[in-house]
């Protein structure tokens, strides 16, 4: 009796210890994250003593080192949005349809082969994709389309699409595959064709997972640095066609940070660009979170 009681308190104690250990671990990762954000704002905000937020965000000229310097990141913001939008136009259909094919159409054996291969694509280092874009795709585009520069908005979007397809495909495939079997069977039993089942049952049932996949894929594209640094061309102007060179925010930060004088205006401006980028990715992630909760499929009755 007493022995059992002793054992019980020991177990409870152990439980408590483990609980606080896990709390500490979670707390550590969150506080590191918080500190990074604090640092980002501390190093970025001083620039707004020199230029107003409006001039910074909507200014058309980025000449951080000339005299007098100009810090307008509007072309960089447009570039980031443009590469993300165009790469999404390519990667979303590719990713989602591949996922549908793998989960619903392909045979089990094929699926077991193809899925790991697609996931392997995600493991390709971005510098390799960037190098491919620079050395293979750029000269190819130049010759085939007879355009002056191969390093442009289109090339960068194409490379980014390569990178986000695996993310989109693999997450939406999981969502589609986890649609309850009885839903599908019920639909087929009512005489619906396979396509009707996919369109009317499978997609609505997994839309929350698919949307999350799409948004995560897009936030990968907007934050990606190496690829856009290597293949986007890097001209800080608002593009007029999809074959114009552009300079997305991460490329600008990566290219200039190393040589910017420490705690100078240029340095602060680059951190402020980082804040803008952070706001963008945060909006993406919050949207993903909202969508996955809002459209969560709970049981078959809400279809």
């Amino acid at each position: 009796m007493t022995k059992d009681k002793y054992k019980g308190t020991l177990r409870r104690k152990k439980e408590k210890w483990i609980k606080s250990l896990f709390f500490l671990i979670a707390f550590a990762s969150i506080s590191v994250m918080a500190l990074i954000v604090v640092f980002l704002f501390m190093e970025g905000l001083p620039i707004f003593g020199k230029v107003s937020v409006r001039e910074f965000v909507f200014g058309h000229y980025w000449y951080p080192t000339s005299e007098p310097a100009e810090f307008g990141i509007f072309p960089l913001i447009i570039a980031s949005i443009a590469v993300t939008a165009i790469s999404s136009m390519m990667s979303i259909p590719l990713g989602v349809f591949t996922a549908l094919y793998l989960a619903e159409v392909a045979s089990q054996r094929l699926r077991e082969w193809v899925k790991p291969v697609i996931e392997l694509l995600a493991a390709l280092p971005s510098v390799v994709i960037g190098f491919f874009g620079m050395v293979v795709v750029a000269p190819f585009l130049q010759q085939v389309l007879d355009i002056p520069v191969g390093l442009n908005l289109f090339n960068a979007s194409l490379m980014l699409a390569f990178m986000s397809v695996p993310t989109i495909c693999s997450i939406s495939e999981d969502a589609i595959f986890s649609v309850p079997r009885e839903l599908k069977e019920a639909s087929l039993a009512l005489g619906a064709t396979r396509w009707e089942t996919i369109r009317r049952v499978i997609i609505p049932a997994s839309i929350s997972g698919i949307s999350t996949a799409v948004i995560l894929g897009m936030s990968r594209a907007i934050g990606e640095t190496m690829v856009v640094l290597m293949v986007a061309g890097g001209a800080a102007m608002v593009p007029e066609s999809i074959f114009d060179p552009v300079r997305p925010m991460p490329a600008s930060i990566a290219a200039e940070m190393a040589e910017a004088p420490f705690r100078g205006d240029h340095y602060y401006a680059l951190f402020a660009t980082g804040i803008v980028l952070f706001v963008f990715t945060m909006i993406f992630n919050m949207t993903a979170d909202y969508v996955s909760h809002r459209y969560r499929q709970t049981g078959a009755s809400t279809l």
Partner: protein, 272 residues
Amino acid sequence: MKAKSLIIISIIAALLFGVSSANAGNLVITGSTTVLPIAQKVAEAYMSQNPDVKISISGGGSGEGIKALIDGTTSIADSSRFIKDSEIKQAVDKGRYPVPFAIAYDCIVPVVHPSNTVVNLTVQQLKGIYKGEIKNWKEIGGPDKKIVVISRDTSSGTYEVWEDKVMNKERVTPAALLQASNGAIVQAVSSNPNAIGYIGIGYADNSVKALMVDRVKASAETALNGTFPIHRALYMFTDGWPKGDTLNFINFMLNPQKGQRYVKEEGFVPLY
């Protein structure tokens, strides 16, 4: 997963701390990526002659190097530009006195695709191209093709020399493509028949064609006698007048028979 990444992080941390403590008392060199190949070659030679001295070298950029010198985390800062007034002020505030040593010269050479028929441009023409006023190769005796202007990111030392010697402080057109390194410019120009870029003379190879400027070919000789218009000095900065191993290394670096030989080997222009 979490436990695994924790283990990895702690291993990385252990390695980092291990390395930094192992270097205590030895030489740390950091800064400009342009100076990096010279520093690396010279440091290797120096270490093979002085096996008891350990030198750790990293790139990161001129600004990074000078920042490290101000913070006291490096013994020598490599820089492809002279130190800025604001940086001197910060250093003095922290009680540090950066001392410059010019260790080599570098020519900045305009380069085009090997198939381009243009062989010579004047500084005025280069300025026109980079301001975006000259847009077609036929305006300067080439084929009827749009000029693709490739420049370096605005904070690189190479860009600053270009801005100073060619642009005369006027702005490079925003339509110019920006590349983050000399190597990337060579790569971009060699794969684009319409492109023009500029690189440090050490990076010029057969995949691109170096242009003459004002009818002068870039070389060690023309850089030293000042006839090639676009050249600069490369520096190493120390905190105060160097002592001990730092002094020995700087002396080695400046010695015509020792360090300066490697400057030449790396394709830069030695001091003598």
